[in-house]
Amino acid sequence: MPRLVPPLLVLALVGGAAVTAAVAVGSVPVPPAALWAVLGGEGEPLHRTLILELRLPRALAAFAVGGLLAVAGALMQVLLRNPLADPYVLGLSGGAAVGALAAMLAGMAAVVVSGAAFAGALLSTVLVFGLAHGTGSWTPTRLLLTGVVVAAGWGAVVTFMLAVGPTERLPGMLYWLMGDLAYARSPWPALAALGVAVALALPLGRSLNVLARGPLQAAVLGVAVRPLEWGVYIAASLLTAVAVTTSGSIGFVGLVVPHMLRLVLGNDQRLILPASALAGGALLVLADVLARTLIAPEQLPVGVITAMIGVPVFLYLLYRSR
């Protein structure tokens, strides 16, 4: 049995350090003493505005989104028993993108864009759920195929909208597609969703360990397989929908973070799920710091950075794993 607490403690410290760095670094650097003063309720007005109204909410939103995507990815991988699954594999980000881009095309306000993204994500979830259920028996392969095909359909609609959209709206639409934390207004819904997800995932962790060994073995060991599978599907979909709504579809975190952790910590979902929340959060916070500082005052799409950090780290871990 791997002990659960020490790795989580280390990851929590990394997450805390990442958020601190995100708050301190930027076009106006905040020295540690000033940071301390602001957190204590004092400090200069400039620093207070900068930290409490801009950087801290954005860092917390990044943390929440990264955590949500990593947890959703870890859940999808167990559900589909497929290491290539990520939160978007079942077409959810496509549905969200169609909703968001349609709202942007119509010139709607940011709130409406978020709402439309969430509605699109849910619509896609329900569509895949219903179609995969079909008239025959239900299998992860069938769910996967349904999801992938629905995703391809959304992809076509997105391309169509980009093709017919007016030129002045295109940059905003493209940034949404690549994921951008500048869209995040309040971090609290996403953080709350992350907290609920981890609290629910912990008691289910051992059942998920058993489910990862196949549905028959799981049933024989007393797991109610069908309700668990649908529960995991709906939970992972909701988490992804909240993440996508907060900041557009940020790639890579959901696929790679759970795998990195599995390579280092083993395969116990009771450890992997909370560890994914912390590590995914920390990765996205750091990626966002780099995205807004590397070519400041311009910003890079954060998805570029997550891949630039994640790819070499992942390949290194894979290379030295047994």
Binding site: M1, R213, L216, Q217, V220, G222, D268, R322
Partner: protein
């Protein structure tokens, strides 16, 4: 050797007018039999006769076409899955490689039915799993990844996992698959000793001679759904087996035990 972690209650498993659901086949004979504590049942039949389907149906993993399966006198449908899992273990023909896992972790999932959602495995659970691994001669491999094991070692691990589950009823689909001769004997002896300790054992087998030596009840299943069952002496006669398999056999006695050898017609 019942330990604290072993369920020692005696339970039986009964098929009542059971017709198994083999897709594309007409209704077979209705099966009514009881696998009682202390008995070892062996199911024989050619490929595609429905042995695995029958075993999965008895485990409640497949719907019945007609009739029902009862555990300790109560239909399976009225049990909670977790309660069934505390009494009944299944050794599958194939094991599933999901994510990489070590041998000890794999055996430990046998404790799942006994733990509440918030429990971590206790030292006692780990000791139960280690003991099961020792009985299957897998000690020393605890930290190995399952994907690095040989076919026979995986098969023994599947049996060790079921042992860790401490069932009162064993359902095993070809438990001697991939095993060398010594381990075939060891596994059959283990199942026999489980029966002696008051557990009920139900096996699908390919090897008539293993069935002849270690089973005391035999169920013959043929591909169009016909079935008959009874004591080993009454069922394992060359004429019946030749009809079942469509293969000529010679029977011989070696050290007082009956053996069957296929011969060319």
């Amino acid at each position: 050797m019942p330990t604290a972690a072993t369920s020692s209650e005696c339970t039986d498993l009964a098929a009542r007018e059971l017709v198994i659901d083999v897709p594309g086949r007409r209704d077979g004979d209705a099966l009514s039999f009881t696998v009682a504590p202390g008995q070892v049942w062996g199911v024989l039949g050619p490929n595609g006769a429905g042995k695995t389907t029958l075993l999965h149906t008895l485990a409640g993993l497949r719907p019945v076409r007609r009739g029902e399966v009862a555990l300790a006198g109560r239909p399976l449908g009225r049990w909670r899955r977790r309660r069934i899992a505390q009494r009944l273990a299944v050794v599958f023909q194939e094991s599933y490689d999901g994510f990489p896992a070590t041998v000890l972790e794999t055996a430990l999932i046998g404790r799942h039915p006994y733990l509440s959602p918030w429990d971590l495995e206790t030292a006692e659970d780990i000791e139960t799993a280690r003991q099961a691994l020792r009985r299957m001669e897998l000690d020393g491999l605890e930290e190995r990844l399952v994907s690095t094991l040989s076919g026979g070692e995986r098969q023994r691990l599947a049996i060790a996992t079921a042992l860790t589950q401490a069932p009162s009823i064993w359902l095993a689909d070809e438990p001697t698959n991939h095993l060398d001769l010594r381990h075939q004997v060891a596994v059959m002896e283990l199942l026999r000793s489980e029966a002696r300790d008051g557990r009920a054992v139900f096996l699908c087998l390919h090897d008539v001679n293993l069935a002849a030596r270690w089973c005391d009840r035999i169920l013959l299943l043929d591909p169009d759904g016909g079935a008959c069952w009874g004591s080993t002496e009454s069922m394992l006669v060359p004429a019946a087996l030749e009809r079942l398999y469509g293969q000529r056999l010679e029977a011989a006695q070696i050290n007082g035990a009956k053996v069957f050898v296929p011969v060319n017609s």
